[in-house]
């Protein structure tokens, strides 16, 4: 791309495109039918892994959580509560503690 820089610099000031210009050619769309990949990754085994697998990966794959930084227990609890209160995750009250405990054990800030 930068091979084009020098001539482009010469043209500066005259070549800037108006923010909305008429498109040149007619355009047609084609229908789309395809499949999106899924992930079969589960949370690593440990106390509570069955609880987190049962509650969390219906809405999002486990990689989202595994890619998170280490967070405090308080921060993990806030995340789980956000999923329940804001995003309506159907997590039973008795499972919340086990999920937070798992996350804190596995990805807790020291």
């Amino acid at each position: 791309m930068f091979r084009n820089l020098l001539p482009a610099v010469v043209l500066l000031g005259v070549a800037s495109i108006p923010h909305a210009a008429h498109a040149a050619t007619p355009f047609e769309l084609k229908s789309v039918k395809l499949d999106l990949p899924d992930s079969d990754k589960m949370f690593p085994d440990g106390p509570g892994s069955d609880v987190i697998n049962n509650n969390c990966i219906a809405c999002h794959s486990a990689d989202m959580v595994l890619n998170q930084p280490l967070l405090s227990k308080q921060a993990w609890a806030a995340e789980v509560n956000k999923m329940i209160n804001n995003y309506k995750a159907p997590i039973a009250t008795e499972d919340v503690g086990a999920i937070v405990k798992y996350l804190t054990a596995f990805k807790g800030a020291k």
């Binding site: 791309m1 482009a8 923010h19 909305a20 499949d35 999106l36 930084p69 967070l71």
Partner: protein, 411 residues
């Protein structure tokens, strides 16, 4: 200043095994078939798969499989100002995404506080309204979130949740005028075809003020870079809100509702809000800060041709090259410093493809003697706003735009 390499180390299998074993991560087998990348996120984890398994997409950094979060590999930004569609980053909120879209059946509804409810076919949109084109950067509110310190939860992006395309479509204003906006309209709300897995969860919707929606710049795009949108980038229609963060660029747009009351839906009122402070910055733990919806983007610039830690020849001319964007306006200048900000020099700007797009920049420089240098780059936009030299911080990880630095070792 942020010390983020332009390119991230590709991990060897041995490094990855060590990292995985240290973290106790059980990596599934197919991962070995794909290449891995190590994003330099402070405190980690930085290992990500580079996936080619998404349809209509090339190699992408896998942040999350479902709903997809796919990051653009940074080397793509050195190739030109327009990001190829197959490597344009991807971000979805909800996992129920239609994968079978018949262009003959799709329709866009315009309803609410209007004289006439409309149901527009794709044919009506492509052939019944004036077509416009515009180059614009689409950047996630949380682009670069992974560099926040202290770290915050969310999509742990490096710098690749931003892309630039030449968008083709119709003006939102023309569509609203066709329906006839009634007096007293205050906002316009946009919704796409994606749906939450849990039925009572909030459907993703975003709103713009009526004057913004009718400014003639906000558009409904049916093409990017001359082709129809990849499905995961919002096929068949996507809202384009030039200069504003991507949260407003609703994908698979099929519903426009003109409101006579301010929108109070979760995604506008609660999510995607920022502290109403300079650089949207607060201190960790600070409470009682007034929050407002995220809005206009701020300037950024990056080196794209040299990775941090690269060895270069001392006392010999070298080329430094990269991209910049002004945020909500054009790029006025890109400056660089080889002496940790004591003195600054202006880089040459490349062709202006439109004020809302990426702008390439380039310069020749000579590192005078052997040693380690920190090369700084700073964009000043045409409103006179320059990148700050200290990083902002907020709990959501939004609006990072600290000036970037890369290390060069002159030998």
């Amino acid at each position: 200043m942020a010390e983020n390499g332009a390119f991230y180390r590709t991990m060897t299998r041995r490094q990855l095994l060590a990292a995985a074993s240290a973290a106790g991560v059980a990596l599934s087998k197919p991962a070995w078939a794909q290449s891995m990348i190590d994003l330099p996120l402070p405190g980690g984890p930085g290992a990500r798969q580079v996936t080619t398994s998404f349809p209509q997409k090339g190699p992408m950094i896998l942040q999350r499989t479902r709903p997809p979060l796919l990051e653009t590999p940074f080397e793509v930004f050195d190739k030109g100002v327009f990001t190829p569609n197959d490597q344009f980053y991807v971000r979805w909120h909800w996992a129920v995404i239609p994968t079978d879209i018949d262009i003959g059946k799709f329709s866009l509804t315009v309803r609410g506080h209007v004289n006439q409810t409309l149901s527009l076919s794709l044919n009506d949109i492509l052939h019944g309204l004036p077509s416009v084109q515009l180059a614009a950067v689409n950047q996630c509110s949380g682009n670069s979130r992974g560099f926040f310190q202290p770290r915050v939860p969310g999509g742990e992006w490096a710098n690749g949740a931003m892309c630039n395309a030449l968008w083709t479509g119709v003006r939102l204003k023309d569509v609203l005028d066709k329906a006839g906006v009634k007096p007293g309209a205050v906002q316009v709300r946009f919704k796409g075809l994606d749906e939450p897995v849990v039925a009572d969860a909030p459907h993703f919707m975003k709103s713009l003020d009526i004057d913004h929606a009718r400014d003639g710049e906000v558009m409904i795009a049916y093409a990017m870079n001359g082709e129809q949108l990849p499905l995961v980038n919002g096929f068949p229609l996507r809202l384009v809100v030039p200069g504003w963060y991507a949260t407003y660029w609703v994908k698979m747009l099929n519903d426009i509702e003109v409101l006579d009351q301010p929108d109070t839906n979760y995604w506008t009122k609660v999510a995607y809000t920022i502290p109403d402070t300079p650089h949207a910055s607060t201190k960790p733990g600070e409470t009682g800060v007034k929050m407002i919806p995220i809005n206009r983007m701020v300037p950024r610039s990056f080196v794209t041709n040299i990775a941090s830690g690269t060895k270069v020849k001392a006392a010999a001319p070298m080329t430094l090259r990269g991209i910049a964007f002004g945020g909500d306006c054009g790029v006025a200048s890109v400056d660089f410093s080889i002496d940790r900000g004591k003195s600054w020099h202006q880089a040459q700007l490349g062709k202006d493809e439109g004020k809302y797009g990426f702008r390439q920049w380039q310069t020749q420089l000579t590192l005078p003697g052997a040693g380690e240098y920190s090369l700084l780059v700073r964009c000043t936009n045409s409103n006179g706003v320059a990148q700050p030299d200290v990083p902002n911080w907020n709990p959501a990880g939004f609006m990072r735009n600290v000036m970037e630095s890369i290390d060069a070792i002159a030998v």
